[in-house]
Structures are given as C-alpha cells and as structure tokens.
C-alpha cells in the first residue's frame, strides 16, 4: 500500500528530525550563524526524497544523522576553543566606537555608510555619531550601544532626576 508507506516514512522522518534537533541543542535558526542556516537547508532538503521513496529510509536517516552529528561535533569543538570558534564562525567586528565610524572595518564587512545609517535608523536613531559603539555580529546583524546624549535614563541616574524635581 504505497499511501500507507508514505505516511509511515513521513512519520519516521518527522520524529527522527525532532530527536536530531533536540540532540544538537539548537533552539532557533534566527539567532544562529549563517552556517546554521545552510546546514538546516541541507538537512531540510533530505526528507522529501525519503518520503517519496526515491531514497531508502535507512539511507535518508544516515544522511540526515551524519550532517547533524558533524554539525554537533563542530559546535562542541568551537565551544571548547574560542580560537576555533572564530575560525569557524567569525567574531563580532566593531564598526563604530565613540561616535566615530571605522571605515576600514566597515569595508571588511562589505558595508557602506548608507548600510550602517540604515541599520542605525531601524533602531530609532538618526546618525551613527550618536552611538557609543556598533558591531557587526557573527549572525550578520548590527548591534548598537547608544551614546550618552541618546542613552535612556537609568536607575543610576536617580540622583540627577531627584535634583531636577527639587
């Protein structure tokens, strides 16, 4: 019964992938590295051939398991060694320090000033000069730390606020 076989193979693949993902400890793709995404795409491309029966179930499970296991080993190794992690995943690059844009660093990340200004704008600020720091993270996103003039008033500012109220 080919329909039953399809349902069975789809079920086995579903449960198998759920177990694999739990083993790798990956919680999200969104905040992972670009390589996590590529690995997910590679593994995600495998189940359909298994479900249609173009590839024997055992072979599919071995293929998915091997890629996931390799990724797990790389994760383990890069967790133990910061140097290997930087080799495999790149580290954060500082592109703004105390309001000054580091053009060389920007160039290394293949960004121009418009890209920087644009991502600063999406975080609600007009100009990189207002930042204490900005970095390109290994995930590719830009994180910022606001400078004194645009930083929020925090608990450590209670005294000046009290003085203001007096």
């Amino acid at each position: 019964m080919p329909l039953l076989a399809i349902a069975l193979r789809a079920t086995v693949t579903y449960v198998y992938l759920l177990v694999l993902l739990r083993l790798t400890g990956k919680r999200t793709i969104k905040e992972g590295t670009p390589f996590d995404l590529v690995v997910a795409l590679v593994v995600g491309d495998m189940p359909d051939d298994v479900i249609w029966g173009d590839v024997p179930l055992a072979q599919g499970l071995v293929a998915m398991g091997t890629v996931a296991l390799l990724h797990l080993v790389v994760e383990r190794v890069t967790y133990r060694s910061v140097r290997l992690d930087r080799l495999a995943n790149a580290s954060a690059t500082v592109i703004v320090r105390d309001g000054v844009v580091d053009r060389a660093a920007l160039g290394r990340e293949r960004m121009n000033e418009d890209d920087l200004t644009s991502s600063v704008r999406t975080q609600g600020l007009k100009d990189p000069a207002l930042l204490r720091a900005a970095r390109v993270e290994p995930s590719g996103e830009v994180t910022i730390v606001r400078g004194e003039a645009v930083a929020p008033v925090t608990g450590s500012d209670r005294e000046p606020v009290r003085a203001l109220a007096r």
Binding site: G44, A133, E137, R158
Partner: protein
C-alpha cells in the same frame, strides 16, 4: 513540452498553494511562525515536499497525504506541548539561566553549547557591554536570551517617578 502540460503544472501549483495555505492556517501562527529551529525545519520539509507533485513526478493524492501527515504530527506535537509541561520540555527544551548577578554559570553555558562570544552577541542585542549590568539572563526555549538588568542599568519607568518625586519633596 506541450501547452497542456504547462497548464497542468500551473493547476497543480495552484492546488498545492491553496492546500498549504489552508494547512498552515489550521496549524496556527505559533506553530510554524514562532521560529524554534524545529518549526523552521517543518516549514522547510513542507516546502520541499511540494516540488515533486507540482512537476508531476508524484501523484497529487500522495502529496496531499504527505503534507497532512507532516503537518498533522506537528499539530499533535504543539498540542501536546501546550497540555504537558513534561512533553514540552522533552521536545522543546526548557529555560536556562546563563548569567545571574553578573556571574556567568559555566555549567549552564556548557549544557547549552553557548560560548562567551555567543553570549556577548546575545547580550549586545540588549545594549549590554558590561556583565555587571545583568541581573538575570535566561536562554528561553525560543532561543532568545531574555535579560533583566540590574536596578542601576535598567531604564527608569513611569512607576519610578512617584518615589523620586516623594524623595525630592
């Protein structure tokens, strides 16, 4: 390739599109949209399943069945996760505190395979450059790091105004 086959391809693509739309609506926005790694995998699997039937390499009945089975298990999975904390933790992981009062919990970091570089990236998303600013940082099942800042580092809120005015008076 004759026109009839092209028309059939368009028809099959349309049937699959509408069917997937219905299935995803039934699954609900949190099941494929809330971006855990496995939700993402399920979205990938569904996306990969449908190309063969669209090209006519696999009959439509088989395709619809495969979609229903994968989506069905995902539905059961999310349903059980909302009913049973035990099952949710088994399949989705549980929140784990990585930093408390500015001190990194090395054992927790190791269990989650999070190294210092990754922790700092997650902290910088909360505009934190100094560990002392962290009261509690928790790795949530969604993969996000939630951060409660210390009193000195957190923003003042409307609720802080009355005590401040009281002090000043």
């Amino acid at each position: 390739m004759d026109l009839g086959e092209l028309g059939l391809t368009a028809l099959r693509a349309s049937v699959i599109y509408v069917f997937l739309l219905i299935v995803l609506r039934l699954l609900g926005k949190r099941s494929v949209g809330h971006a855990t790694a496995f939700d993402f995998m399920v979205a990938l699997i569904l996306g990969e399943i449908v190309d063969e039937p669209i090209y006519g390499d696999v009959p439509m009945t088989k395709a619809l069945l495969a979609i229903v089975v994968v989506a069905g298990w995902h539905f059961v999975n999310s349903w059980l996760s909302t009913r049973s904390t035990w099952f949710d933790r088994l399949t989705g992981g549980m929140p784990r505190v990585l930093v408390e009062n500015g001190v990194i919990d090395r054992a927790a970091m190791s269990k989650e395979h999070v190294n210092d570089d990754e922790l700092w990236t997650m902290l910088r998303r909360h505009e934190i450059e100094r560990m002392e600013e962290v009261k509690v940082a928790t790795l949530e099942p969604s993969g996000e790091l939630s951060v409660i800042k210390t009193d000195a580092a957190r923003e003042l809120r409307k609720g802080d105004l009355a005590p401040l005015l009281h002090d000043a008076a």
